[in-house]
Structure formats: structure tokens, C-alpha cells
């Protein structure tokens, strides 16, 4: 239903904008009250749901293969209505399920990153928390294999400076994963005198760039961990984001076709059941039209 008083402009463009960013379609049409209402309500509900679940509740299913993760399809179908974040999740799913996204034991270029974790040295027979920076670079290992070597420089829990060599076995978590921290484990070595000797172990994490963890699909372990961490709030976050997506479908339809019942200045009695009322009105009109004919026959 469209009323000439409602400026729909280019309805299809408005609907597309309303899908991409809730409220944007109505803003384009100059329907500012509705733009604000839809934006605040739908974004508010969606973002609050996301924040409840540490921004990990939108998980797009894989587009090809990996049937075991297709269970998230129904949830994602409802969340899809919210537009841009759901589309980003779909893009992240494509990146996440690529063959090349796996734990890294070789580097193409040197990597420096802040590190927090635990250092275990055999010589001290202790393990302690350390913070600092890791400097990693590609290197040639035994038998010509490509490996990662580097060093860690930082401080321990007491503030004492620590610097160790890393090598032989260094592994980094996959580049893209639904965790803002990327794990790093490495063997601590001493290569003085040309002979490599293992001294201990360093394990912890380096930060992952925002676009490498935001709305990336969870693996089974991360999913279980999120359930354990959130309990019933996991369901609440799911419901909030799903309802936000479904409500935006109404907003998209409003941008495309205008409000379902009319402008709003119709009599209040038509508020609840406009179709029935309209039918009744039509019937009365028809009967009044037919009345003279019936009278003429009698």
C-alpha cells in the first residue's frame, strides 16, 4: 500500500539501503522519525546481543563443503536480515574455510608483535608470566626445511628483563580465527657455538588484527567454550540478534512498499483488523448500491 503523502523516492534503492544499514533506507527517503526509530531499535538490539556474546554470536555457514557447520544456517538466516554485519560474516566465513588458513610454521616476511604468555626454562625449573615483544623471521632449518626463528625480549612478572632465542619449533595459530588472540608456542634455544640446545618453552599469544577475528565462524572448541562462558546468555544473545534481523525485514518492506495499514490518520477502529473492516465497509456499500434494484424488483 502506498500513500501519495509518503515519499518512497526510489523504493528499490531505499529497500537495499534499509537492508544494508537499518534506518538508512528511510533516511534516504526523508522519513527521519522512522529512520531514527529503526536505527536505534534494530542496531541497539543487534549490537547489544553481539556484545553479550563478546561479538562472536554471528556465524555464517560455509558456502561450500564442511557440512558439519551447516547447523548454524537457521540462526544465520534470521540474523541475515540485519544486513552489513551478516554480509561481513559471510565474507569472513569464506576467508576462514580457505585451505590456506591453517596454523603457521613458516613465514613469508618478518613479524614483530607484542606478546603475553608464559616462559618455562629448564635451567630455572620454573614457569613465569612474561610480557614483551616477539621478533620472528623465516629461516632455514635442518635438511633445508623452512622454519621460523627469532627472539623474545620483555620482562617477567617481577619486572626483570628477559631475552631469549626462539627456534627449531615455532608455531603460530591460524591467521583468521574467532579469537582476538593468536596463540604462539616456541622452543627456547641456545645456539652459541653453532650447536643448538633446547632451554625451555615459550607459549602465549600475540594480538590478531580486528578483521581477522571479527564475526569469523567459531570452531567446535570455541563454540563449546563460548557456551560454557556465557551459559543461558548465549541463547539470549542469539535471540536478540535473530529478532533484530527479523525486525529489519519489516523495515525493508516499509521502505519498499510504505506502511502496511496506511498513513495513520484513518479512524482508530481500523487499527486492529483493517482488512475485515474494509471488507465490511465494502459489503455495506455494495448492499446499499443494490438496494434500489431490490426495491424495484419488489
Amino acid at each position: 500500500m502506498s500513500d501519495p503523502r509518503i515519499p518512497l523516492k526510489e523504493p528499490k534503492l531505499a529497500a537495499l539501503l534499509a537492508f544494508l544499514l537499518p534506518g538508512a533506507g528511510h533516511l534516504y527517503q526523508g522519513r527521519y522519525f522512522k529512520a531514527g526509530l529503526y536505527a536505534v531499535c534494530i542496531w541497539g538490539l543487534f549490537l547489544y546481543g553481539m556484545s553479550l556474546a563478546d561479538w562472536k554470536i554471528v556465524n555464517a555457514p560455509p558456502l561450500h563443503g564442511n557440512a558439519s557447520r551447516r547447523g548454524v544456517m537457521l540462526k544465520y538466516a534470521a540474523q541475515f536480515g540485519v544486513g552489513a554485519p551478516a554480509l561481513v560474516a559471510l565474507m569472513q566465513s569464506e576467508r576462514y574455510y580457505k585451505e590456506s588458513n591453517r596454523p603457521v610454521r613458516q613465514l613469508d616476511a618478518p613479524l614483530d608483535a607484542p606478546f603475553t604468555g608464559e616462559l618455562t626454562l629448564r635451567t630455572r625449573q620454573t614457569a613465569g608470566d612474561v610480557t614483551g615483544t616477539v621478533y620472528l623471521e623465516p629461516a632455514q632449518g635442518g635438511f633445508g626445511a623452512e622454519v621460523i626463528r627469532g627472539r623474545f625480549a620483555g620482562t617477567d612478572a617481577d619486572g626483570e628483563p628477559v631475552e631469549v632465542q626462539l627456534g627449531e619449533f615455532v608455531e603460530l595459530g591460524r591467521p583468521i580465527s574467532a579469537d582476538s588472540k593468536r596463540y604462539l608456542q616456541a622452543e627456547v634455544i641456545d645456539d652459541a657455538g653453532g650447536r643448538i640446545q633446547s632451554l625451555g618453552h615459550l607459549h602465549g599469544s600475540i594480538p590478531r588484527p580486528f578483521w581477522n577475528w571479527f564475526v569469523v565462524p567459531l570452531d567446535d572448541q570455541q563454540d563449546r567454550e563460548l557456551h560454557r562462558q556465557l551459559g543461558k546468555y548465549h541463547e539470549l544473545a542469539t535471540v536478540f540478534t535473530m529478532i533484530a534481523g527479523l525486525l529489519n525485514v519489516l523495515a525493508i518492506w516499509d521502505a519498499l512498499e510504505g506502511p502496511a495499514y496506511g498513513y495513520g490518520d484513518e479512524p482508530e477502529s481500523t487499527d486492529e483488523t483493517p482488512d475485515t473492516e474494509a471488507e465490511q465497509a465494502n459489503t455495506e456499500k455494495d448492499s446499499s448500491d443494490q438496494k434500489p434494484v431490490a426495491e424495484a424488483v419488489s
Binding site: 534494530i42 556465557l230 529478532i243
Partner: protein, 68 residues
């Protein structure tokens, strides 16, 4: 529970119904009419209906589970 905003971390889940019902009422009513005043009035009415209905269900369940 670190992920939850501090103020709402220990809130009874039932209270989440209020903002949820408010949002549903507003968006649904806005998709029915154009006039601001009509939208708000209808949203208020719908909100009250949802809360009353849920309240009635809550009361019924509480009654059924009495001394269980």
C-alpha cells in the same frame, strides 16, 4: 561472564523482556503506520498487551509449579 556489560551481568533474565518487547512494539507499529503519534500510541498499546500476556503466562506457570 567477562563479556557482559557490568551493570547487566547479574540481572534476572526476565527483565530483558522489557527492552525486547519495547523494540518489537515500536518497530512493528512503525511498519504499520506513518504518523508518529499513531505509531507511538499503537506501540504503547502493543507493549502493554505483550507484557500482560507474558505476565499471565508467568502467573500460570508459577501456579502450576507451586510446591513442586
Amino acid at each position: 561472564m567477562d563479556a557482559l556489560p557490568t551493570l547487566l551481568a547479574h540481572t534476572n533474565m526476565t527483565w530483558y523482556l522489557l527492552p525486547l518487547a519495547a523494540v518489537i512494539s515500536l518497530v512493528y507499529s512503525a511498519s504499520r503506520y506513518e504518523q508518529t503519534e499513531r505509531i507511538l500510541r499503537r506501540a504503547g498499546k502493543l507493549f502493554a498487551q505483550i507484557i500482560l500476556f507474558m505476565g499471565a503466562i508467568l502467573a500460570l506457570l508459577a501456579m502450576l509449579s507451586y510446591r513442586l
